[in-house]
């Protein structure tokens, strides 16, 4: 099977529904394993930070979720593009399945970030570049989700949300850049210590956790996409068969 025919077949919901099942399982197990290992490394093996004590360990949740929040939005934007240009039903389903996950990652990043902020900066919130753009990202997610669900006809909702996601995807980097620039001109970066070098014993669990989060997301998104597909295609023959059996 050539790559082209593979993608062509992947676009067909029944085919995807069929092949995604084992993949989902595999992702779930790999993700679980990586997360356990990462957490063990991060919460037990890594030494306490000489400045922050054990507080820094919140990083092992915060950083992967912040990273995932951006990654998932990219996935949504790419899927939206594919959906709008090539009219691939699967792409819309993946985008719709991803949006709530992305919003959840963003929320976790925001909450853990503020919790971490209290000991670090003495307040839960500062108007910093990263924080602000993360918040905007959160609102964008909400917009995409609400828009998608607001229409009676799923296809209309998909397309509307896709347009928003694409405009938003252009916007997110600009926001990030703009806020950064806006802040640094006035007041020095509020937290310079943050980006300092991280000791290897702290770093590897972080990387493992990031990979774990990726697989975890992969599993969830496959699972959700499958149910999205079933819902969307409920009156087609293949879905009837799946539901029947």
């Amino acid at each position: 099977m050539t790559l082209k025919t593979f993608f062509h077949r992947l676009g067909s919901p029944p085919y995807f529904y069929q092949i995604s099942r084992p993949w989902g399982r595999a992702f779930a197990w790999i993700g679980l394993l990586l997360i356990l290992v990462g957490l063990y490394g991060g919460l037990w093996l890594a030494p306490p930070d000489y400045q922050q004590g054990n507080g820094f360990r919140i990083m092992y949740v915060h950083v992967p979720s912040a990273w995932m929040s951006l990654f998932v939005f990219m996935v949504i934007a790419v899927c939206s593009f594919i959906g709008l240009v090539w009219r691939m039903r699967l792409a819309y389903a993946v985008a719709a399945a991803s949006a709530p996950l992305g919003a959840a990652f963003t929320a976790v990043a925001l909450v853990t970030g503020s919790l971490w902020g209290k000991p670090m900066w003495g307040t839960y919130w500062v108007w910093d570049a990263r924080l602000t753009s993360e918040l905007i990202l959160f609102f964008l997610y909400l917009g995409v989700i609400t828009l998608n669900r607001s229409f009676e006809d799923q296809k209309t909702g998909d397309k509307a949300a896709a347009i928003l996601a694409l405009v938003g995807a252009i916007d997110v980097p600009i926001v990030h850049y703009s806020v950064d620039w806006w802040q640094t001109l006035h007041q020095g970066s509020s937290f310079k210590g943050l980006t300092s070098e991280i000791a290897p014993s702290m770093l590897w669990p972080l990387l493992v956790l990031m990979a774990g989060f990726m697989f975890y997301y992969g599993w969830l998104v496959l699972w959700r996409t499958r149910s999205e597909l079933l819902l969307r295609e409920a009156d087609r023959d293949w879905a009837q068969q799946v539901i029947g059996s």
Binding site: E152, D153, K155, A234, D235
Partner: protein
Amino acid sequence: MDRGAGSGLEARALELRRGRRLLARSLSFGVQPGSYLELTGPNGSGKSTLLRILAGLGRLETGQVFWNGATFNPQREEAHHARTLYLGHTDGLKGLLSIGENLRLFAALRGIREPIDEIEKGMGFYGLEHLKPIVCDRLSQGQRRRAALVRLHAFPAALWLLDEPTTALDREGVERFFSHFRIHLERGGMALVATHQSLARWIAPAGEIALGRSP
């Protein structure tokens, strides 16, 4: 690529849906120049839905439509929009503009310059001259409908898609509409007309598309 049978508009194996409800399965019909089809069926059977799809508003999911034998997508094809006039349940008049201004705006929409004469004639035809200075918000129901029908008069098009065109018209208005309709057909025009009254007593249709309550 499939080919249609011949001249005029033809539809083959259309499926009508509204949300999850299937309104008609495998609908096929054709209309030749100089004739029209009556679109009948009880309330909620999908007459308006069908007209909207043919006009290019709704999405055509299953089935094909042909124009003079060539298949086309009513949503994308500009040539189709140029040869078609669609008149729905709403009158398509801006309430803050007068009838004349509304019609000139519609001319701009169809890319026509300076259609003043045709508009004047159309308004005269429907007896609307005395309403020239009045904004459409202040018209009675039937006056609005007449104003909407002037479009058919001022902007010739090969295919009319009309959704209960005679609603709210008084008897004289109905007569006028049909006298113009007759001319349209004589000139080789086509039409699909959704209706609840039989139109045969005015002009005999070439056929009927009878939609039933959901199958």
